[in-house]
Point group: C2
Chain length 339, copies 2
């Protein structure tokens, strides 16, 4: 057994959209687990939009990745060696392994997976993105039967969870996605009542007209994953007492690729006159709900009542490219790297 | 007794800031109360920023004033004639009289005042503005002892209520007001811990530095009355899990007199990474809390534990001028017109 490991390091802080040169594949000597730790051989790695924020040297809700440091992220893998109680070699586990072939983690920060489900589900539909959709919809979306929900990035792992849960609760669900194929998946795989291809519209006004047609009773919940032109299109369609859980804003992660006009006064006015509740939230505040989420959703996934899609890249060295493409909407479903 | 009445009508819809020519003093034949109505001789009229919105022909939370129609508003007055049970001539009452010398209103929409308190308090500290501050702070601000609150338009009837209630609950309170005299009133009359004259700063960055000094532990509650440059200054100082009740945005009522740069992405990012709760609200949704408000606050006003300031203009014909000045911050305290 080789005593080396591979990892993807942050080589340079991106300006706007990340480039391949911002990452570097590094080979190191593999660490040995200390007391209380397990050594994991990573089999699946999660790529998520929030990682873009970690690449900046800006104060945020979590520390930045240092230059030369391993890109952070959740992984799934096999225990190779354990000095932590409760783990033995061969266990399938998940934890914050980073973008790496191997990781030593404290046993307390590692969770054993149910072998009855595909291990990659721990990164998507039953992982952080699934929990994000579940917690956010219930806590901040406050869905009620008969209402209308609009969600951007609707075939992504968060958006598809939100849409399916809302549909099961009796809401009308409208997907916004990029491209005809994602729109097809939104309605056929995830059961959205309507799907709108935002790429088919040149400006916010024409996008708004299409959304208005799909949401004839207005919008009660706008699940904010994307911001940018979708936000501008949606805001005037919000109903009184509408809710906007702010979960992400992928259109703005690369910087200010936005129209010059200042939308803020109009949006602030909508918040006031429609008495909207705009709630930023970060899933790291809600890990305590993870057991309740698994208890509710894992059986539904096992029974096929909650669908999920995965987009799998092959090999750790493809992670940067897959990540860059994902930020541009190039993936379909939860982006995973299989090592 | 003359059989005429005077009223201020909307003569023209303003473009941006209202002008005197947008209003017209009209003399009409006085109406006679029908069954169930009372005829009120108005003694005090309330001027409030929300009235600016009613002058536009734009869908909002309440109907626009029609061209030629009487400007809406709350008044206090004396019952001259009553065909409604429970009212007799001489009663001191309040209701939505509009900007007028007399009004016929259904008895069900009129409330008798406690004669132990000055009648004008029903328009300010114990009226809609006071209720707005009280409801909004408790419902959306969720104040906790030891936190820091920042409020714009801090010597106005809403801001001064919010500041005093928060101070009594053990928060550090920071006033933002226009001019040295209002800053003095904020600390001396309303007990704010610090007061900042926003007119003394050229840009959002220098204003922000001053606020940061007055709020060394960051901001937990930003009470939004003003928007514009104050919002831009405050947002980066918000603490994680901060709350922003959106009560008004007087800086933007006159239209887009704002910087060209698009602040929205930065503000949206703050909402996300700091998990802020931004809550638009309109007091008309909360009238049911009026009795609880009066029960709590009226004794404190009577005992001098809640201070208030009134700025009184003399004569119905001065109402347009006083209103125009108020929107520019020219008044000090609750703006009232004494007829």
């Amino acid at each position: 057994m080789s005593n080396t490991m591979s990892r993807i390091a942050l080589a340079r802080r991106p300006q706007g959209a990340p480039l391949p040169e911002d990452f570097k594949l590094v080979t190191d000597v593999r660490a040995t687990p200390q007391d209380g730790e397990v050594l994991i051989e990573v089999t699946h790695l999660s790529l998520d939009p929030y990682m873009r924020g970690r690449m900046d040297d800006v104060k945020s809700y979590a520390p930045s990745v240092d230059l030369g440091g391993t890109m952070t992220g959740q992984g799934v893998g096999r225990v190779l060696d354990s000095k932590a109680g409760g783990f033995v070699p061969g266990d399938i586990v998940t934890g914050m392994t980073g973008w790496a072939s191997h990781a030593c983690l404290p046993g307390a920060e590692v969770r054993k997976l149910d072998p009855a489900l595909p291990p990659s589900t721990a990164l998507g539909v039953l992982g952080m993105p699934g929990l994000t959709g579940w917690v956010g919809l219930h806590t901040y979306g406050k869905p009620k039967a008969g209402e209308t929900l609009v969600v951007g990035a609707a075939t992504g792992p968060v958006g598809s969870m939100v849409g399916q849960l809302a549909k099961q609760l009796g809401l009308r669900t409208v997907a916004i996605a990029g491209g005809a194929e994602k729109c097809r998946l939104a309605t056929e795989t995830f059961g959205f009542d309507a799907a709108i291809d935002h790429r088919a519209y040149d400006d916010a006004a024409s996008l708004r007209a299409a959304i208005a047609e799909a949401a004839p009773n207005g919008i009660d919940i706008y699940w904010e994953n994307v911001a940018g032109q979708v936000l501008e299109a949606v805001m005037p369609l919000m109903n009184v007492h509408g809710r906007i859980p702010v979960c992400g804003m992928i259109a703005w992660y690369g910087g200010a690729n936005i129209a010059d006009n200042n939308q803020l006064p109009g949006i602030w006015r909508s918040i006031l006159v429609k008495r909207l509740q705009v709630s930023g939230f970060i899933i790291f505040d809600h890990w305590d709900q993870y057991p309740a989420f698994l208890k509710d959703v894992a059986p539904k996934v096992a029974a096929g009542e909650i669908a999920y899609l995965e987009d799998v890249a092959a090999g750790l060295d493809t992670a940067p490219e897959a990540f860059i493409a994902m930020l541009k909407g190039g993936n379909t479903g939860k982006q995973i790297v299989k090592l």
